[in-house]
Amino acid sequence: MKLKKILPQLLTLLFIVLIFGFFTMNAQENMDTRGIEFGFGFLKQEASFDIQFSLIDYDGSMSYARAYLVGLLNTLLVSFIGIILSTLLGAVIGVARLSPNYLINKTASFYIEFFRNIPLLLQIFFWYFAALRALPMPEDAPLIFGSSFMTIKGLYTPAPVWNNFDIFLITLIIALVIIFFFNKFAKKKQEEEGKQYPKFLISLGIFVILPALTFIIGGVDLSWSFPELKQLALTSFTYEGGMGIPPELIALTLALTLYTATFIAENVRAGIQGIGKGQKEAAASIGLTPSQVLKLVIMPQALRIIIPPTTNQYLNLTKNSSLAAAIAYPDLVLVFAGTAMMQTGRAIEIVGITMATYLTISLAISLFMNWYNKRIAIKEK
């Protein structure tokens, strides 16, 4: 009896092992005849190529492992910004789709149909090449927000120059920890005594006041470095100082956000529509204000419908960010699965590492979203 149950599983396992074994042996043999070696030692070698944009210290004299890290962080950066922005935009468009106002409603649905149905790569090219050509050269760029310049070579903004940044950072973390425990305490009080604290205001206060104190007594100091126009040649200019955000990052973020927001908007619409009218009316009838109805009754239920498909969109956005290679944004694929693979010839190792990395990022996002979903889910008592 038991055997009958296990046997199919055993056979499947055997099958998988055999297939895997066959491919490994085959690859091994092919690599042998072509004199290709397998190993990860190359990661320690000097990369000897430079990367345009990096969140950490990097230059070509560092290792391939370091170049990998640069690419990974760039992927995480564009994914993170993209996820935040597309969620905000998606939520707005999704709610707008349900608006009784004809114009708002139709604009939202036009937006969704338009951006959802054009291939993402085309949109990336559009934002990069069409928008790029429309941007002014550095010397002609108008001042925006009093201190920044949007040019064909990127967005140049003032950059913060910190003194004792670590003290500031540690204080910020302490503030967050205090806020966490305060909220726990407030919740308990509410459950036990029905007492309601202005949780948000107090938290915000702690978050602002503690770090601010470090400026007064902690020796923390912040000044700004401003971008200044520099002439490279007769007709060629750039900006020096400040912070340069490459146009590749801007175009990619824009394209990913506008595209993914359409899907999130549809999820939001479906989520809100999924909650029965009766719920709203019942909540209002027991005296909750409209914002309380939304916060305490509608959203907790709608989110249960919204979150799982939206998690998928987060994963898609992260994976889609690898289209970066087309427009020279140095993400993981361009830097590692592109340049590093080409310069070392270690195709199998590098593709393996890259795949494992994307898998890990995807799993991490899924785990986080599942955790969040569980946390906000209505607990059946």
Partner: protein, 346 residues
């Protein structure tokens, strides 16, 4: 009577089949790639995604260029028809994996012969069909006429996965200039970004610069600076591990170059069979057994010259007459002041 004719033809057919079979197995014993190529009926050749003069497809999908001609020469040699080539356009990043994974059998795509590529990653370079070096292109209006005018903060557009990326770093480092590399996967995007003003300079092989310039919205607005910052010997590449195939590709290229040296052209090749000079006769299959070692017939080289032409003809047709690089520079025969020098076919 009729009966016999029928029997005779079937006998002839049988012998022919048997013969074809034996020759095929003989060649096959020597080279798996050759066998597969003959079975498929076309040479699988990796080229660029469009580099005028080197490998470029017209609107009808016909490929031309000096890199293309190397593959055509091999097709003429092993299949008897220079047109039996299947071209696969590859970006710089894709090219080596396409070759090592067996998607193509020859990579003839302005690829620089370097130690690490030759020794480390399962490739074998068979020769050089264009001696080149890396250069820089700038907008004329910038007033820059030499790399010595480059300043800190300059941005340079280029392709990823190239020697260019590495040389550029060496160059700017040695000059102590800080620069922003903007590296794309595909050449068309490099050109478009530079053309739009994203970068102050565009750097790659000088041949590449000359070729890509023809694609810009206004070629006359750009100049290639005189400095050459590296050696870029470009040549065809094969997978490591098939020595006979490697030899076939090498000697197909050598044949084209040596044919020029001996004045053999596509027009006069047939008449050269009766030449007084034994070396000329060897190059047109009229003396010696020059194909046997490859598992080929004796006129393999004659077909190359007749169908593709010698190196000089190929250069003139693709690079000089198209105005890309009218001057042959180092890519002239050693007998005429250049450095093209190949071992003798004998």
């Amino acid at each position: 009577m009729f009966k016999y004719v029928k029997q005779l033809t079937s006998l002839v057919a049988m012998v022919a089949v048997l013969f074809a079979f034996t020759t095929e197995t003989m060649a096959a014993k020597k080279s798996k790639t050759l066998k597969n190529t003959q079975k498929k009926g076309f040479v699988r050749c990796g080229v660029s995604q469009g580099l005028p003069g080197f490998s470029n497809a017209d609107a009808a999908g016909n490929w031309t260029g000096v890199d293309v001609d190397v593959c055509r020469a091999v097709a003429a040699a092993v299949l008897g028809d220079a047109n039996k080539v299947k071209f696969t356009p590859l970006s710089a990043k894709e090219r080596f994996t396409a070759l090592t994974s067996g998607e193509i059998d020859i990579l003839s795509r302005n690829t620089t012969w370097t130690l690490s590529r030759d020794a480390d990653i399962g490739l074998t370079f068979v020769g050089v069909n264009f001696y080149d070096g890396q250069g820089f292109m700038v907008r004329k209006s910038s007033g820059i006429t030499s790399t010595s005018q480059f300043k800190n903060g300059i941005s340079a557009c280029t392709n990823i996965g190239t020697t260019t990326e590495l040389n550029m770093r060496d160059f700017f480092n040695s000059k102590g200039i800080s620069y922003t590399p903007v590296a794309f996967e595909k050449a068309d995007e490099v050109v478009a970004a530079y053309d739009a003003g994203r970068c102050d300079t565009y750097t790659t092989d000088k041949s590449g610069l000359a070729a890509q310039r023809t694609k810009m919205s206004n070629p006359d607005e750009h100049i290639v600076l005189p400095e050459t910052i590296s050696k870029e010997p470009l040549g065809p590449v094969v997978r490591q591990g098939d020595a006979v195939w490697e030899d076939i590709v090498r000697w197909s290229l050598n044949t084209m170059i040596e044919a020029e040296e001996y004045g053999i052209t596509s027009a006069n090749a047939d008449s050269m069979k009766t030449s007084e000079n034994p070396q000329v006769k060897r190059l047109v299959g009229a003396e010696g057994e020059m194909g046997a070692a490859f598992g080929l017939d004796n006129e393999w080289n004659l077909r190359i010259i007749k169908q593709v032409g010698n190196y000089g003809e190929s250069y003139k047709r693709n690079i000089a007459d198209t105005g890309i690089l009218p001057d042959r520079g180092p890519n002239q025969l050693w007998t005429k002041g250049g450095i093209l020098y190949v071992p003798p076919s004998r």
